[in-house]
Symmetry: none
Subunit: 143 residues, 4 copies
C-alpha cells in the first residue's frame, strides 16, 4: 500500500480557470478537459466559440497525458511515420492523441492527472496549457 496524490474537482476548477484566463487574453476560445490519474474526466468546459470537434480531442488529450505521463507533443515525433512508435495513434480505441495540447499534471514529482486543450492551432493549445499549469502551481504554493 502506498498513498498517492489525487486531483479534486477544486483542483480541476483551478486548472480550468487558469486556462480560461489565458485563452480569453489570447481571444482563442478552447475546449478544456481535466482528467484524474486514471484518465477519467473530472471537469470540462467548452468556451463559447470553441469548435464541437474539439470536445473529443481535449478529453482524449487529457486522457493520453494522464495515462502515459507524457505531453502529447512528445508523441508528435515518436509516433511519426518511420519512427519507432508509428501506429500509436491507432491504439487505445483511437484515444491516444499524438499532437500537442495534452499535458500531465504533476504535484511533488508525481503525475496525478492530465489536462487537454483543443480548438484552433496547436501552438495556441500549448500556450494555454502551459499557462494553466503555471496558474495551478502558483495556487498550490500559495496554499
Amino acid at each position: 500500500m502506498r498513498k498517492k496524490g489525487c486531483l479534486t474537482l477544486e483542483d480541476a476548477r483551478i486548472l480550468i480557470e487558469g486556462a480560461e484566463r489565458k485563452a480569453a487574453d489570447m481571444k482563442a476560445p478552447k475546449s478544456i478537459a481535466v482528467a484524474d490519474d486514471g484518465g477519467h474526466l473530472i471537469a470540462f468546459h467548452r468556451m463559447d466559440g470553441a469548435n464541437r470537434t474539439s470536445i473529443d480531442i481535449a478529453i482524449n488529450k487529457a486522457f493520453t497525458s494522464a495515462c502515459s505521463h507524457r505531453a502529447t507533443l512528445d508523441y508528435h515525433k515518436l509516433a511519426a511515420p518511420g519512427e519507432p512508435g508509428f501506429g500509436l495513434h491507432m491504439t487505445n480505441q483511437g484515444r491516444l492523441i499524438i499532437f500537442g495540447g495534452g499535458f500531465p499534471v504533476g504535484v511533488d514529482g508525481e503525475v496525478v492527472g492530465g489536462i487537454g486543450l483543443s480548438s484552433g492551432p496547436v501552438d495556441e493549445d500549448l500556450a494555454v496549457g502551459e499557462a494553466a499549469l503555471e496558474y495551478y502551481q502558483q495556487r498550490l504554493r500559495r496554499g
Copy 2:
C-alpha cells in the same frame, strides 16, 4: 433558415451550480453534464466521490435528452422488455440512455440542450436534476 436559442458556457455553469448545491445538500456527489441542442458537451463536473462509471452515463443522459427532447425516465417504460420501444438502448451507438437522470433544458418552450446526472440511485439523480432546472429558471427570470 430559422433562429433558435443556444446555451452558452455561462448557462451551463448555472445549471451545474444548481445541481452541485442540491447534491451537496443531499450528500450525494454526482457527475453533472450539460450538452447543447446537438447533444455536444458544453460543461461537465464530477463531484468528489462520484463514481468513474458515472462520467459516461451523465454525458450520455445529457446527449439523449438534448437530442430526443425527452426526459430519459420516459424511456424507462417505453423501452422496457415487451414495450414498443424495447431495443432503443442499443441505438445511437449505445448512447441513448433509458433510465432516469437526463432532462431536456427548455427556454421559452424550445429545447435548447440537456442535463444529465449520474452516480448513485436514480431517484437522487431525478431530485438533483429537477433542482438544477429550477435554479436555472429562477436565474433566467431574474435576468
Copy 3:
C-alpha cells in the same frame, strides 16, 4: 448470373415524398431513410421538428429491413426476452433494430431495399411507412 431489381435515387425520392405527405397530414415530423438491397443509404430526409436521435434509428431500420427482408416490427416478438431470437439487437454492431418502423421495399415479389421511419411513437412510424410504400406502389403502377 441473374438480374435483380435495383432502387434508384428517383425511387427513393418517391418513397420519401409519400412518407412526407403522410407525416405532414399527421403533424408527425419524421426522419425518413431509404436503403438499397445491401442496406446502404440512398436518401435521407429529416423533417423539421424530428428528433436528432431519430437519424441513427431511421437509417438502421432501413438497413435492417433491407438486409433481413423483414419488417423490424417482426423482431419485436422474435427478439424479446425469453424468445428464440433474444440478443439479435446486439448483432450487426447494434444496427439491427427490433422495434417497428422499418419495412422491406418489394417490387415484383423481390426485396430491393428498405425504408425506415423514426421520431415519436412506433404506431406513427408504422402508419407513415405503410403510406410511403402504398404511394410508391401506386406510382409504379402508373409507370
Copy 4:
C-alpha cells in the same frame, strides 16, 4: 443564451439541388450530405452511380465541416505526416475527415451547418461543393 441560425430541410434541399445540378453537368455522380450546426444529418442523396463507400465519407465530411467550421481540405495540409495536426484523422471516432470535399455552410458570417460530397476524385468533390454553396447563396439573396 444567445440566438443562432438554424438550417431547415428546405435549406438542405436547395443545397443538394445545387450539388446535383453541377454533378449532373460534370457526369460525376456524388453522395451529397447536409448536416446541421451540430453535425447531425438533415438530408442525404446518393446519385445513381456514386459508390457505396462514399456514403460514410460524405456524411462525415458534412459532420467535420459543420463541427470544426473548416473546409476538410484545410486539414489535408494541417494533418499530414510531419505537420502539427498529424493524428487528427483518428479523433472524433474516426469521423474527422482530412481530405477535400466538406464545406461549412455559412449565413450572415455564422456557420450553420456543413455539406459533404464524395465518390470519385477530390477535385470533382470540390467543384460540386462550391457550386452547391453558390447556388444556395443565390437562392438566399433572391429570398
